[in-house]
Amino acid sequence: MTTRDGWEMVVGLEVHTELKTTTKMFCGCANEFGSEPNTNVCPVCLGLPGSLPVLNVRAVDLAMAIGFALHSTIAFSTFHRKNYFYPDMPKDFQISQYDLPINSGGYLDLPDGSRVTIERAHLEEDTGKSTHLGGSGRIHGADRSLVDYNRSGVPLVEIVSGPDIRSSAQARAYASELRGILIATGASDGRMEEGSMRIDANVSVRKPGDPLGTRCEIKNLNSLRSLQRAIDYEAQRQIELIEGGATVRQETRHWDEILGQTSTMRTKEEAEDYRYFREPDLVDLVPDEAWQDRIRAGLGKMPAEHRTELLARLKNPSPMQLEALDVVVNLGIDYLVIAALDAEKDPSLVLARAANTVASGIQNIQNLTTEAFVTAISMEQSGELSATQTNTVLLELLESGGDPKRIAADRGFEQLSSDSLGATVAALIIEHPDEWARYRDGDEKLAQFFIGQVMKITKGQANGKAVIAELQSRR
């Protein structure tokens, strides 16, 4: 794809994903997001003198699973030390794989049919986290910083793509598809907002057919939206530089989400000399056939297969359905949709509930059984529950599990079918415009007025909570 005036952008991505292990990469401390600062630390992940790393076998399993999913070659690999000083890195070196990564080569096919090559996917450890005091609370202008080492030593896999990406939309599709794969392999929860997946983008521009231009690396993009915006901004900046007669300087750049700009972090001349050398405290990793076979056998279906299967069940899917399909496949909840479709439920309804309501409670997905999901959808489709009520039931199922019929009963949803309750409430709103306006402006006391009216009409069969839910859904 070319951008304006015949320029072409060339993008390669480095995706860092935290692995979903119980413990850290080299010690038995919990790999857990959101704990009190410096409570998941020990001599090893604090880098105390005399401590030594011992590799977590689960991290290797998950790295290999990623490798298989990306069609990589899994081979003899070693660990190196990457030496540089930084306060969130307790040993002042990072243990990483260098010239012999566990996964090399491979590719990822995107839904639009394009293929992005994978150069490598290697294991490394995460650093701690700094917060900055004074100034604006950001790194620049701060007086002092505080360091929490809970994240120090959390296992990461860094997946490096080839420079095959030609548009920001393709970059986003790649990151999204990769995220789906990471979730499908069980390697990651893919939560970008918690920093469990972070992306660096290498961007350059050229006229099609020309040799590669000078690239800039944009660090630490924490959402798909930032990724897309940052790449577009950066490509445009480089085009303007070149068109203005200047040259692009090879450098590392920082993305400012608020300003919507990239800025220089470090020039090539300021680049560190990392002095990589073999980590003498760890031994070589040589996954034998049996180990590889065990991981390969444990791999489930990847998003592409899920997508194909799901797509086969939809007749003439609408653009909205296709968008919802991507969401459910990437979140790994397409099994819910398939079960509901197999029970002959309405595809648009099923996809909407899965891609919106279920997606919003994805962190508790284990609480929602397929059966409960299908039942809730049935209830909505038959008119037993309103849209709002279905959402409420689904969210409660995600929160604490259970039986949708019982939840509906406990909430009084089934005492009056929602369609009829909804119609009653709608009629009352029209009849009492002043009360409705006051309620809408925040006077909660008016809810009681409407409940009283509904009770009068339904002879007490309605449920107060359900009335409030109906009112709120219209607010």
Partner: protein
Amino acid sequence: MATPLRREDVAKVAKLARLSLSEAELDEFTAQLAQVLEHANDIAALDLEGVVPTAHPFGLINVVREDVLRASLSRDEVLAMAPDAQDGRFAVPRIMGEAP
């Protein structure tokens, strides 16, 4: 054959290693390190094309541990070691640049 060690090499290396040297120390260290490197030139000069480097004395492989929790240290114990701490964290003077 490696080039002889210069004073500016030592200054550069000291900076990489986060050490500051006085002018006099710089002279002294340059002379001493040059002497050691001169000795090391007997191996720098060897033709070892094709020899496999040894980083580990023994060829152990695949030493791993199970993904099982072990007790962490108590935070009080951890922060008791800290030269400066605040709000359950290690405190440091301002950080000038982002991590590479």
